[in-house]
Point group: C2
Chain length 223, copies 2
């Protein structure tokens, strides 16, 4: 069995890769760049992919200005405080998971893979529309209808192993499956050390704290 | 009103651009390259876009080997005879319209466009799963669920003006709307003149013949 795993180099996608491997899939990691500031993540993706023994790690560069809207890809300041639950945060990137999943499905069809793994989670749901189960379900149906594999009765499965898990649970699971979290990167800012203050760092730190595991990554802010 | 138009440089997408303009949209043409052989089409897309007065023409290059599967992107011979109706032709490109529409929706959200136009047609349906109305409908719903715009009650519309039209009808419509078909390119092969023998040339020639309009493009084969 072959599985394509969308790998950003963060905790969720790295843990997802470990789950795919644990399920017996030969894993093909796919990292999609879209001019995000944190090129640091890409280094992490490469290190994680290699530490997890993927068959292949493919990196696709989309045009840098393609997603120029949210604060992740422009000069807008990354917010330090998490947005209210009913608002879509400024770190939203237009149609990102739609584009990522579509490219992953195309790649999966080319290499005859059976599944695409994506590490979305709707528990620590911070307002991204494209991380919700109803979006994933709908995408699964659309990709079935729009591919040769789907029409012929062998649709590519979209697997979201973390969808019902909290960050704490994800970290505990990954630890059990041998993920080396010192290689991962979560910070929205692009420095050498994680900032410890952005939305993503806060989520990560809270998750490690709750899991009782020490975060092996270095932070700018002394905590 | 702003509309993104997926523009390959062929008859269908060029006519779709004319329809969008005729509907009063400020048009933003989007050409997506995926290592197809017919780079000739790209020149056509540029010429068409400029002749139709688009606001902007954006070209996105996807990695050349991303869609390496069908005969359009590999060295496999392009078939000369159209496939049986119940088979998916070898010119099928994995998840192409899924990827194209997803990127177009992302781009539309970035520039605050209201609609994405795509020139698919299910009448001269040659077996591509991603040209069928059920795929388009499903995609529309998925993109609504996966975007900020959709969630906020202003989904980006996916408009397929040609979906119920034959090639003959498309050509007649485009002629009325001022499309200069001498600028378009349909041939699957990449020569200076169209081959006149491939599936796409045959479709095109039959369409012109039935419409009673002369095809202004030059062919290798004397007909």
């Amino acid at each position: 069995m072959k599985g394509v795993v969308l790998l950003s180099g963060g905790i969720d996608s790295s843990t997802t890769l470990a789950v795919a491997r644990d399920m017996g899939y030969d894993t093909f990691a796919l990292t999609i760049l879209y001019g995000q500031r944190h090129e640091r993540e890409v280094r992490s993706a490469r290190d994680i992919a290699s530490s997890m023994g993927v068959v292949e790690h493919t990196t696709i560069q989309l045009p840098n200005d393609m997603f120029r809207s949210g604060s992740l890809t422009t000069d807008e300041e990354v917010p330090e405080v998490a947005g209210a639950e009913d608002n879509i945060p400024t770190t939203y990137v237009p149609a990102r998971n739609l584009v990522f999943l579509s490219i992953a499905v195309g790649y999966a069809e080319v290499i005859s893979a059976d599944a695409v793994f994506i590490g979305v989670t709707s528990v620590d749901y911070s307002g991204y529309p494209d991380c919700r189960p109803e979006f994933i379900r709908s995408f699964q149906e659309t990709s079935r209808l729009g591919t040769k594999r789907g029409i012929e009765g062998h649709p590519i499965r979209i697997i979201t192993p973390l969808i019902d898990m909290s960050k704490e649970e994800i970290i505990k699971l990954g630890r059990k499956l041998g993920v080396d979290y010192s290689l991962t990167w979560s910070c929205y800012r692009g420095g050498e050390k994680a900032c410890g203050r952005c939305d993503s760092c806060r989520h990560r730190l809270k998750g490690f704290e709750r899991s009782g595991i020490e975060d092996p990554v270095e932070y700018e802010v002394v905590r």
